[in-house]
């Protein structure tokens, strides 16, 4: 048999790994036919919304819903007293703490859920909320975590024993009634000794401010309890639908087979939609109580004020080095503000996430990290906003410490990085704080980045600018922001990563149809990453059927295999690996079928693009399409009919993507306005599945980094009032503020991942924040600046210039 097309054409037809396949999701999204949770409509569906606390800390002495129940259209009002008999007035958090679903006698942050009003539509629900009368008795408010650790005010009476003693928390002993945990990594005494006796030590205190992922779609759910069949269906904005099913089962007592959780299209997640929120629980309870489907959708203010803040780390660092710049030790302490409940979304054993990746890309022999978690009167959360668990904080910390050390050493910060990078031949590299980095080639990436932007030329231009500024010829300074980051993603190995006891493996199940097309289902869920496009590409390359003939389905727990969902850049490292492994099982069976059809021994055929060929006789082959049909119509001895496979993949290690970013910025010292002149981003995410999608992820992640570095924050006043509850106050960049980015890459495959891929979605955010921040700070280096805190909005930049005496 002869082909009328070449081998290259056969490869092209598959649209497999490495090509910029256009997205299959786009047809529905561009035509307004996406199906997001708020688009779901069911017969008789009711709408629920919350009465929320105006106070940050108060006792609730009475809730009177009588008037609300008289409002036309209002069906029910739920309070903690209604949930208590079901044991649902509190729920477990992902961090081993518990959290009120509805205020149980007191509130701990402004906007906290107090009562749930269920009505025929949104307008009636809003009227009902107005009519609920709540009596509050104000309590002293604690918003500063350092003050909280000194304060007599007890935020969580439920965590203090009757005799006043403090029972251990989920992560060990507690030092104070507002203290949650101390978490340590590395060697304390040896690190302190190295630093105490070092030739050079740089110290800095920095605050990584509280912010919020703020996806364009807020959180929401629709619960429908079918009392006839005893089945609960729950649609929602869930980044981890299977985990939500298990949680709902554990807290409601409904058996897991009677719960179907569906994540429909999700309008961006960025970590916001990992957690379990009171709204989800209340929609379920309200559906059980009313017997009708109940929808709950946050408005933007609810979203910014209550679900899932990120960051809020007060970090103190010491870094020691020899006089010629070889780093010898790193010490880091974090005071972490967790708000009123510890609802951080981290693997169980990591209450500060992977903050212990804070030695970064550098060969630092000795290090120590301690994190103290603290309760305050702020919203709970602590999610990973477009990063693996707390990696943004870690990378910001080390990339600032490097800059501060460079100033102390009077050295170029690019050179300081270069002489301390982990060398290519040191991989796999075990860092002082415990992680085993899988692969990297940092020097090559760094040199490529510096050469591309003409780093030396930029520094010369910057020096001239400083002279011109001093001579009164210009009022603009120039900043060169550098950042070299190493991410840790793909959580993770079941031996040390779980959430609520669920190991963080992931899964893929494939069914090949008789005519040579396929469906694959995964335990993850896309929120814009384009899984339906890229996972089909992985499979196309693995099983030799065109990506266009493969449907990818996620998000329905009744059909998809169990998985831990999409966050922390884990989809490609974990579910992507499961996809490849399941594909290889298909291929192994296809090989037996091909050998049978070709009447040769199994080992006499080999896979080639889209077929098995007889070794040495390429004209004798069976295409995967032919094999698929044969699997359904041939009685092959010793081979079951059909062509299906499933893989549950427990990754042997995390993956460690890295990258080199450089930002060139002009800053007007009189207005504080930064103008981004150039941004160069080199990413190494291992094997590249779809370059178009990678670039899109990089553009988006950098823009979210720009937001966080240059203005976006969740701020509170002393009374615990959230000052940033709308998009008027909370900075989301528009097309007008955002530059064009230059993207570049190197490829260092992960040695333990079946296709060598490492994940990319979060790298640009992780590496971008310090890059933008370093650019601002570098502009003022010549005038004595060592560090100022983010966000660098216009006022803060102006203030920096003013404090340095640059306004004359």
């Amino acid at each position: 048999m002869k082909d009328d097309i070449t081998r290259d054409e056969r490869v092209e037809n598959l649209k497999g790994m490495g090509c910029s396949r256009k997205r299959v999701e786009d047809a529905r999204f561009t035509q307004g036919k996406g199906n997001y949770v708020d688009d779901i409509k069911l017969d008789g569906m009711l709408f629920g919304d919350f009465v929320r606390s105006p106070y940050a800390h108060a006792r609730i002495t009475n809730i009177d819903a009588a008037a609300a129940l008289e409002v036309p259209g209002v069906i029910a009002v739920l309070t903690a007293a209604d949930l208590e008999p079901l044991g649902l007035h509190w729920m477990p958090t992902l961090a081993g703490d518990k959290q009120m679903v509805l205020a149980d006698g007191k509130v701990l942050f402004q906007g906290q859920e107090v009562a749930f009003v269920v009505a025929e539509d949104r307008y009636a629900a809003a009227d009902g909320i107005e009519a609920v009368e709540v009596e509050y008795e104000e309590l002293p408010v604690v918003v500063d975590p350092f003050a909280a650790l000194q304060s007599d005010v007890v935020l969580r009476e439920d965590l203090v024993a009757e005799d006043g003693s403090l029972p251990d928390g989920a992560h060990g002993p507690r030092k104070h009634h507002n203290h949650i945990f101390t978490w340590e990594a590395g060697d304390k005494e040896p690190t302190e000794q190295v630093i105490d006796t070092a030739e050079v030590v740089a110290e800095e205190t920095m605050y990584y401010h509280r912010t919020h992922p703020c996806p364009l779609e807020t959180c929401g759910s629709v619960a429908s309890m079918d009392k006839v069949n005893g089945k609960l269906t729950l649609w929602g904005t869930f980044q981890a639908p299977h985990a939500i099913r298990t949680i709902v089962s554990l807290i409601s007592g409904i058996e897991e087979h009677n719960i179907r959780v569906i994540s429909p299209d999700i309008g961006g997640g960025f970590g916001n939609k990992v957690g379990a929120y009171p709204g989800y629980v209340c929609s379920v309870v309200a559906s059980i109580v009313t017997g009708k489907p109940v929808k709950w959708i946050e408005d933007r203010m609810d979203n910014l004020m209550t679900t899932a803040f990120a960051r809020d780390y007060h970090m103190t660092g010491k870094i020691s080095a020899t006089r010629d710049g070889k780093i010898t030790g790193l010490h880091c302490h974090v005071t972490a503000d967790h708000g009123g409940f510890d609802a951080c979304a981290d693997p169980t054993k990591f209450p500060a996430g992977f903050m212990n990746i804070c030695t970064g890309s550098y060969d630092i022999p000795t290090a120590y990290l301690a994190v103290d978690g603290v309760y305050t009167n702020k919203a709970p959360g602590g999610v990973s906003y477009r990063c693996s668990f707390r990696v943004t904080e870690a990378v910001y910390f080390i990339e600032r410490m490097i800059e501060v050390l460079a100033i102390k050493l009077n050295m170029d910060a690019a050179e300081l990085r270069r002489i301390n990078f982990i060398k290519k031949e040191q991989f796999p590299y075990t860092a002082a704080l415990g992680w085993e980095y899988d692969s990297g080639d940092y020097h090559t990436a760094w040199d490529k980045a510096l050469d591309t932007v003409d780093y030396k030329g930029l520094r010369a231009e910057q020096a001239q600018r400083v002279e011109d500024f001093k001579a009164g010829k210009t009022r603009k300074l120039m900043g060169i922001g550098l950042s070299f980051f190493t991410e840790i993603v793909g959580a993770g190995p079941v031996k040390n990563c779980d959430i609520l006891g669920l190991g963080m493996f992931d899964s893929c199940e494939i069914r090949i149809h008789p005519t040579g097309s396929a469906i694959a289902r995964l335990g993850t869920i896309s929120q814009g990453q384009g899984h339906a496009t890229t996972f089909a590409q992985i499979l196309a390359s693995e099983i030799g059927l065109p990506a266009d003939s493969i449907t990818i389905e996620e998000g329905d727990t009744d059909t998809a295999p169990y998985g831990l969902g999409t966050y922390g850049s884990r989809s490609t490292p974990v579910a992507g690996a499961a996809t490849a492994m399941a594909g290889r099982k298909i291929r192994a069976k296809a090989q037996m079928i091909a050998a049978y059809l070709l009447e040769v021994h199994d080992n006499d055929v080999e896979f080639d693009v889209d077929r098995f060929v007889v070794k040495g006789a390429p004209e004798r082959f069976k295409t995967m399409k032919e094999i698929a049909f044969a699997s359904y119509n041939q009685a092959i001895p010793g081979v079951e009919p059909g062509l299906e496979a499933v893989s549950y993949y427990d990754p042997p290690n995390m993956t460690y993507p890295f990258g080199a970013y450089i930002c060139v910025m002009d800053i007007d010292v009189d207005t504080g306005v930064p103008e981004i002149r150039r941004f160069y981003a080199l990413d190494d995410c291992g094997t590249r599945i779809n370059p178009m999608i990678i670039e899109g992820q990089v553009h988006g992640g950098l823009t979210e980094a720009l937001a966080v570095a240059l203005g976006q924050e969740i701020a509170y006043d002393d009374m615990g009032n959230c000052k940033t509850g709308t998009l008027m106050d909370f900075f989301l960049p528009t097309a007008w503020e955002v530059p064009n980015y230059e993207t570049d890459y190197t490829v260092t495959p992960s040695p333990h991942h079946p296709i060598g891929a490492k994940g990319v979605g979060e790298s640009p955010h992780v590496g971008g924040v310090p890059c933008f921040s370093n650019a601002v700070q570098d502009a003022f280096r010549a005038f004595g600046n060592t560090h100022t805190n983010m966000p660098h909005d216009h006022w803060r930049i102006w203030k920096t210039a003013s404090d340095l005496g640059l306004h004359g």
Binding site: T30, G32, L216, R300, H699, T726, L727, A735
Partner: protein, 164 residues
Amino acid sequence: MSKKMHIKLKVNGKDEEFFAEPRELLIYTLRERLNITGPHIGCETSHCGACTVTINGKSVKSCTMFAAQADGAEVTTIEGIGGPDNLHPLQEAFKEHHGLQCGYCTPGMITRASNLLEENPNPTEEEIRFGMAGNICRCTGYQNIVKSIQAAATEMNAAKEAAE
């Protein structure tokens, strides 16, 4: 609650007539009353543009306009811009140039862009960025949105020239 008002609209070429409370927002009318779910709610304060529609030739954020204020108007949503059999060049260009990721802002983005190109068929990059600044995207960083709009403009102008 106050007395319901009699409201007439032409939405995507179809006449609609109904009684609604004066406080009913246009986005609610579209999504809940008329089942037109392309326009989305992102902020309810006019900042994000996910709810953008075209009313009598102008881009409007339907989350902060009462249905009653639109009485008698012609309203176009993403559903009226193009569908499977008559895709708008912008819809094709957004796919071709990866101008979307999660898709939530996309209907408003394309609706606004279609109006921008009506107002200015040959926009510069700066004019596109300024003209789209009322529509927020959290995923793409805008670079590919700008590229998509430029490509659609080129395509539409070439088609116009060919027709003339």
